[in-house]
Amino acid sequence: MRHFWSAFTTVLALSACSLFAGNGQIEKQVHASPNILLIMVDDLNAYVGSLGHPNAITPHMDRLAAEGVLFEDAHCQAPICGPSRTSLMTGLRPSTTGVYGHIEDNDIRNSSEAMEGIAFLPEYLKEHGYHTMGIGKLFHKHAPDGLLDESGGREPGFGPKPADGRYFKWKGEGTSTDWGAFPETDEEMPDYESAQWTIERLSREYDQPFFLGVGFLRPHVPWYVPQKWFDLYETGDIVTPPYRRDDFEDIPDIVSRIDNLPMMPTTEWAFENNEWQNIIEAYLACVTFVDHYVGEILKALESGPNADNTIVILLSDHGYRLGEKGTFAKHCLWEEGTRVPLLFRGPGIEAGRVVSGPVELLDLYPTLVELAGLEPNARNEGESLVPVLCGEPLPDDATALVTYGRNNHAVISKDMHYIRWEDGSEELYDRQADPHAFTNVAEDPTYSTAKAHLKKRLPETNRLWAPASSTTWPEYLVRQRKEQVSGL
């Protein structure tokens, strides 16, 4: 019986796909909409095995990629948590909403006119018959009150810390950046709790299709996980990424003001103090820790009653620099800050496909709506990736748009990475020839056509800062917000 059902689902899902590919319209599906399991990993960059990192131990994420579609060039819409998550949950760009900084979950709905009447992704699903559940960091904190039918909440902060304000290697004002083996056991970690809660929810049977979100906190700082996760790595074998002291000679002055994060360790510091490999090892230990619990969740799903009709999505909210471009932080419009893993697996989704062109996290909302067989939400600014998930190629001229603060944007195409700052200054990198973005060719006339093309993809509106969103650094963006909020 079980076997029969599995085959039946697959056939139905595939036929939905082929119908779509034929006429651009999805058939109203007769069978139940699929369940959605959304796994959000905080601050996870491309240090993942299936994305090519030489050290990363991520067997479960790699398996997910092998069984589904891996977008290897996916980008967030903002390189910090709050605005990135707000964007993917509302389906709106930061430039549309003015949410450029962090924001309380309950304040999002009324943060700007653009938000009026907006349905958050789980809310839209709920309105269309889904049972919604979630635990951990889904929005900036957890989720707006009352949004989810069942909430596992979130333990405040980012997990246990040594007592009395002690730390291992680093104390910076306003950051919990530090690294070391702590605590003793996984059971002390909030992510462990989140995984158990999710596993339990997956063991149940539901009358309705469900949305289940789990937001892992690691590898967000502090990079603390128990010793056993460090033991998987050999410090001396950790590959440090390319870094050049002379890298900033050819970039606009504004970058030195925006990329000003004095509370973070610099690459110079890490090198001088022989900590660079240790930091990456700690980060990777956190990644492997999360990967393990991703594996536990997948196991629970696959051995439970929802195995055959659940789509699994794994993503991160933005990238993270681990010594690239001089520091250890997110907060930038370069690829290290914008690129994220994005994986889909489930009925009807091709297995083992790797999509190499740029896509946006903003595409998640319309994609899930279409996979659920629902009417599209006209407010969505992203594009559904369902055709791509069903085997269509991504258009050659696809771009991703990333925004950091107001009117600072990156436009990323397959070949180029263009950054335009609010003062009009520019950076342009040839992604094929210069994958580490060391040489700014914005002024090079041989790239003027390519640049003009990307420039057209900048947003038409750049809403002023929504007062409810804010940031504590860098100083430049604090001032930008202050001027715009007080000017209202």
Binding site: Y243, R244, D246, D250, N273, T446
Partner: protein
């Protein structure tokens, strides 16, 4: 990581103050600068990831310094490359791209070392010069086999160039058997046939690189014993790539990419552009070395220098493109230009009707070249091993050096790379125009003009008399010309500059067009006042079997007082049938006649031609 709580309070971090290191020395002290220069070797170093190399001393230098993965020579052969190293100018900006030549530079353009001497540096060179121009009196305090930094005054900073010749191509000419390196493990590239001679040459060459490494190690030990290790910024690089056939002299990665390591002592470590011990992909070329040395010495590089400093007070942003050139190699004429970005190499060949592997006496001294050529003639090679000796080459080449470091797969005709090709083509043309490329004229014509005008090549190409734009247009058109371009070529055949007319004539060496109008036009060019136009027209007419007047025109060229005109004529004869060439025997047999003025490239070229003519003696 093995972290214990015990260490926590001992490891209070330094407060991070600034990301960028300060690029000045507060005390105003100036570093010594040492160039260690080897000859002809590509990056055959273990520190470049070459598993066959044994180079412990250079690897230590790299482990403490910065290793440049994208360092390029401006020319793939000694003298033009060394011209750039001495002056900071591309040889094509001064008429010094031919290997070798002696065209002078203007008095107001000094050598790098002259500027350093003016600023108080002691400058010494041991010992190879080979600058491809006339060395100014002011160049060195000492340039000889005895030259040493030890002769600097008390407290005087020095700039010393130490050349090591052990890896020169000629080390393959001695019939040596490999010693340290086992030929069985030699990394024979796919463009070479796997023959015992070639394996042995590769192994012998790696032996020489190891020997070089030892010499460098000894020299650096000496520097330390002399108490200068802590005051001296050390550069190591090779003067171009090589040295087995299809590397040195050719515009492939194998001929242009060089090892380059810069080592900073503790005191100057803040100047290191990366974290010490790491590599940088920043593109640097020989044009950047003179301004960089001046910058490190605190001297603003003069405006005429064409590269950009990559270290020190006057460091500039990174360059996007590295440009290089190929002109005449000894007795053999060819002309190509190339541009490399961090991934792709685009090359423009202005003489596509000539093979890559034209006979060059010196190149044929190596067992590799002879064994490969023989295998080629006997058909014992693969298609990719044939390209080098085939009778023609493409007008444009494009390689993805990341995927194809040996430059085997020409992507120039691949529609997927049109964007890359056009971008690089534009960049190359812009460079040619900006530097006013002197190689757009035949070398003989160029020499005649600067002699008649009593000027230097550098000044001439910058004068209004030098129509660089029209010459470039003609050269590009001629090398890629198809049937649609014939009206334009006919029009240009009456251009007032003989250089443009020369390119028109060369186009007909590969264009398959024959009619009365073509012959009339070529006949007119055969009687052109410029001997180089006449020679090129003779070749085109010969290919069409239109022999009228050829003997007279080529005979005149062979007796021309300008050596490069004679070399041009002999080059053209090399591609003609023996029966025709025999008519010129008296003029070619220079050994019996008067000794001619010049460097003897005409004699070398003629010797080869005579050898081809002579039937096996009884």
């Amino acid at each position: 990581m093995r972290c214990s709580w015990l260490f926590v309070f001992l490891l209070f971090p330094f407060l991070p103050i600034a990301v960028m290191p300060h690029l000045t020395n507060a005390s105003g002290e100036r570093p010594n600068i040492l160039w260690i220069v080897s000859e002809d070797n590509s990056p055959f170093l273990a520190s470049y990831g070459d598993p066959y190399a044994v180079t412990p001393n250079l690897d230590v230098l790299a482990a403490q310094g910065v290793l440049y993965t994208h360092a390029f020579a401006t020319a793939p052969v000694c003298a033009p490359a060394r011209f750039t190293l001495a002056t900071g100018l591309y040889p094509t900006t001064a008429g010094t791209e031919g290997m070798r030549s002696r065209n002078p530079i203007p008095d107001n353009i000094h050598f790098l070392s002259s500027y350093l001497r003016e600023a108080g540096y002691y400058c010494s060179n041991n010992a190879k010069e080979d600058y491809n121009t006339i060395k100014p009196e002011s160049a060195w305090d000492d340039s000889s086999r005895e030259a040493t930094y030890r002769n600097c005054g008390p407290g005087q900073p020095f700039f010393h160039v130490q050349n090591f010749g052990v890896t020169h191509e000629s080390s393959l000419h001695k019939g040596t058997v490999a010693d340290l390196h086992d030929p069985a493990g030699a990394p024979v590239p796919p463009y070479h046939p796997d023959l015992p001679e070639i394996r042995n040459d590769w192994a012998v060459y790696y032996d020489r690189v190891t020997e070089l490494d030892q010499q460098v190690g000894d020299f650096l030990d000496q520097l330390e014993e002399d108490g200068h290790a802590e005051d001296t910024i050390v550069f190591y690089y090779s003067d171009h790539g090589g040295a087995l056939a299809r590397s040195k002299r050719f515009l492939f990665e194998s001929g242009l990419r060089v090892p380059m390591i810069v080592h900073f002592p503790e005191k100057w470590r803040h100047l290191c552009p990366v974290l010490p011990g790491s590599a940088t992909e920043r593109i640097v070329t020989f044009a950047d070395l003179p301004p960089t040395v001046l910058s490190l010495a605190g001297i603003k590089p003069p405006d005429h220098m064409q590269g950009r400093a990559f270290l020190g007070n006057f460091a500039d942003g990174p360059r996007q493109y590295a440009y290089s050139l190929r002109g005449r190699m000894d007795e053999r004429i060819d002309r190509s230009r190339t541009v490399r970005d961090s991934r792709y190499r685009y090359t423009r060949n202005w003489m596509p009707h000539r093979p890559y592997g034209q006979f060059i006496e010196y190149l044929w001294r190596a067992p590799t070249t002879r064994a490969w050529h023989e295998a080629y003639r006997e058909g014992r090679v693969t298609p990719e091993q044939s390209v080098f000796f085939n009778s023609a080459k493409p007008a444009e080449e494009l390689y993805d050096c990341l995927a194809d470091p040996d430059n085997l797969l020409n992507l120039a005709g691949d529609s997927r790379y049109v964007g890359v090709l056009e971008r690089l083509r534009d960049a190359l043309d812009a460079w040619i125009l900006e530097t006013r490329d002197s190689g757009l004229l035949p070398e003989g014509e160029f020499r005649i003009r600067i002699k008649n005008l009593s000027t230097t090549g550098y000044e001439y190409v910058r004068s209004e008399n030098y129509p660089v734009g029209e010459l470039l247009h003609a050269a590009n058109l001629a090398s890629s010309a198809g049937m649609d371009d014939i009206p334009r070529l006919m029009q240009l055949s009456r251009h007032k500059d003989s250089g443009v007319r020369y390119w028109v004539a060369t186009a007909y060496a590969h264009l398959d067009k024959d009619c009365h109008e073509t012959r009339d036009m070529l006949q007119r060019l055969l009687h052109d006042p410029s001997p180089d136009v006449s020679i090129a027209a003779a070749e085109a007419l010969y290919q069409r079997g239109a022999m009228n007047g050829l003997e007279e025109a080529l005979g005149l060229a062979l007796r021309h007082p300008e050596e490069m005109v004679r070399v041009h004529a002999i080059n053209v004869l090399t591609f003609m049938e023996p029966d025709f060439v025999r008519r010129f025997l008296p003029m070619l047999q220079t050994h019996d006649g008067e000794k001619r003025e010049g460097s003897g490239y005409d004699i070398r070229a003629a010797d080869y031609l005579l050898e081809q003519l002579s039937p096996p003696t009884n």
